[in-house]
């Protein structure tokens, strides 16, 4: 290095430096890293779950189709459909109380009520479709939106939030909620969810526990960043 290059060295050495990063900024980066990792976990879970999910959906469709076809052919063979008018479903007659009556009763109920109660007598297919719809509306009851701040209004929130008396199935929840419940490790004991705030920040409160009386709450920020366990 010649003398005429020394000024370059001096320039480098005298360059202004930014002040040390504050604790607050470091915490912010820490939070961003955790959030980034949470997203990676979700992506990983999606990749692992996608093959199973596709298989499960296709299996359900195929099973449903088979049950419908099987049910119709069974009912036809038992003479339940009136041959003169295919659209009219004939009720089983007292004169023919034999083996076909159970199936006839099942089909008749399904048609007239589109009921929300499972049919234990036909557990192979009909119940599966119906129970999904029933559970979904049940589950929706436990997705709350109080908007309350869990830092200041936790007691009020606990009073207002509707939670299930027994753990709910995460397969009935939206994917984001389900994944977050898995990440929190509470997928087996989830009782309800509330959309609220925590110190002004929009959060989700995951109520969990073995029963209503012993429920705890995880406060998470989207997508699933743990903030507080209450």
């Amino acid at each position: 290095m010649s003398e005429k290059d020394d000024f370059v060295e001096d320039l480098f050495r005298n360059l202004p430096k930014a002040p040390p990063m504050s604790e607050l900024d470091l915490k912010r980066h820490e939070k961003m890293i955790r959030s980034h990792i949470a997203e990676m976990k979700i992506d990983q879970a999606k990749k692992e779950g996608s093959i199973y999910g596709r298989f499960q959906t296709q299996f359900q469709l195929a099973a449903g189709f088979l049950v419908v076809v099987g049910g119709i052919s069974f009912a036809t063979s038992q003479g339940i459909f009136d041959s003169k008018d295919d659209l009219v479903i004939s009720m089983p007659t007292p004169e023919k109380p034999g083996s076909g009556s159970e199936a006839a009763e099942g089909v008749g109920q399904e048609n007239s009520e589109t009921s929300q109660t499972p049919k234990p007598k036909n557990p192979e297919g009909v119940e599966e479709f119906e129970s999904g719809a029933t559970n979904q509306s049940d589950i929706d009851k436990f997705i709350n939106n109080t908007g309350l701040d869990y830092l200041s209004d936790i007691q009020k929130a606990k009073q207002l939030v509707k939670i299930s008396s027994s753990p709910i199935s995460i397969s009935e929840l939206s994917q984001a909620y389900g994944k977050c419940a898995i990440e929190l490790g509470i997928n087996e004991e989830l009782l309800g969810i509330d959309k609220g705030k925590y110190d002004g920040t929009s959060v989700l409160a995951f109520y969990y526990g073995s029963s209503r009386s012993t429920a705890s709450i995880w406060i998470v920020e989207k997508p699933c960043i743990k903030l507080e366990n209450l």
């Binding site: 290095m1 370059v8 480098f12 202004p16 980066h29 990792i37 990676m40």
Partner: protein
């Protein structure tokens, strides 16, 4: 936020091992968090602008996370992270130069000069130096920055760059006359002051 208790006593290498062997993403996150103060400390030596420090740190930890699978045990995780910051720095100043800060951002700097003439001069020097660094070969720029900006020894810089100390020295020796020439063209004022 405190470290997840399971990882509390683990160092960067152990966390990296957990991630590579067991695909433990939490361990990866904790490792990036453990590296944060180091990343921030390097970044503040490189930039005078707080926002750029912040951007450099964020970019560095994203790269740490993204490239962790390819980390080869044998070198230290901190040294590897240093390499990442080093690359990030040169990428960032290149990007900044295309954002046009060499011309546009001089105006705010001139305003700051009202408060501190020295600060303004140093800031202009910083911008000019960064511009000059982009005009020399990258390996030389990396060596110069490590030695003169970060204050590394030739041995330390050699470990970070994964070359012998002698190579670092020769890169620096080749870079300095080039930089002096470029700086003279970019900012004759500085050159004239130093050689009046």
């Amino acid at each position: 936020m405190t470290p997840l208790s399971k990882y509390e006593d683990l160092n960067e290498e152990e966390l990296m091992r957990l991630y590579q062997d067991e695909n433990d993403l939490d361990a990866l996150g904790e490792m990036a968090i453990l590296l944060l103060p180091k990343l921030a400390s390097i970044a503040r030596k490189r930039f005078s602008d707080k926002n750029l420090v912040d951007e450099a740190v964020q970019e560095a930890w994203i790269k740490v996370i993204k490239n962790a699978k390819s980390f080869q045990f044998g070198s230290k995780v901190k040294t590897w992270a240093y390499q990442i910051v080093n690359n990030t720095y040169l990428d960032l100043i290149r990007r900044e130069s295309t954002r046009g800060y060499l011309s546009d951002d001089l105006a705010p700097l001139e305003n700051k000069a009202d408060n501190s003439a020295e600060f303004a001069e140093n800031s202009v020097n910083s911008i000019t130096l960064n511009a000059a660094l982009l005009k020399i070969p990258r390996d030389q720029a990396e060596a110069v920055v490590l030695i003169f900006q970060d204050g590394c020894t030739y041995e330390e810089a050699g470990k970070i760059l994964d070359v012998p100390a002698g190579t670092v020295k020769s890169r620096v020796n080749r870079a300095m006359p080039l930089l002096a020439e470029i700086l003279r063209e970019l900012d004759p004022r500085t050159w004239n002051q130093k050689h009046a």
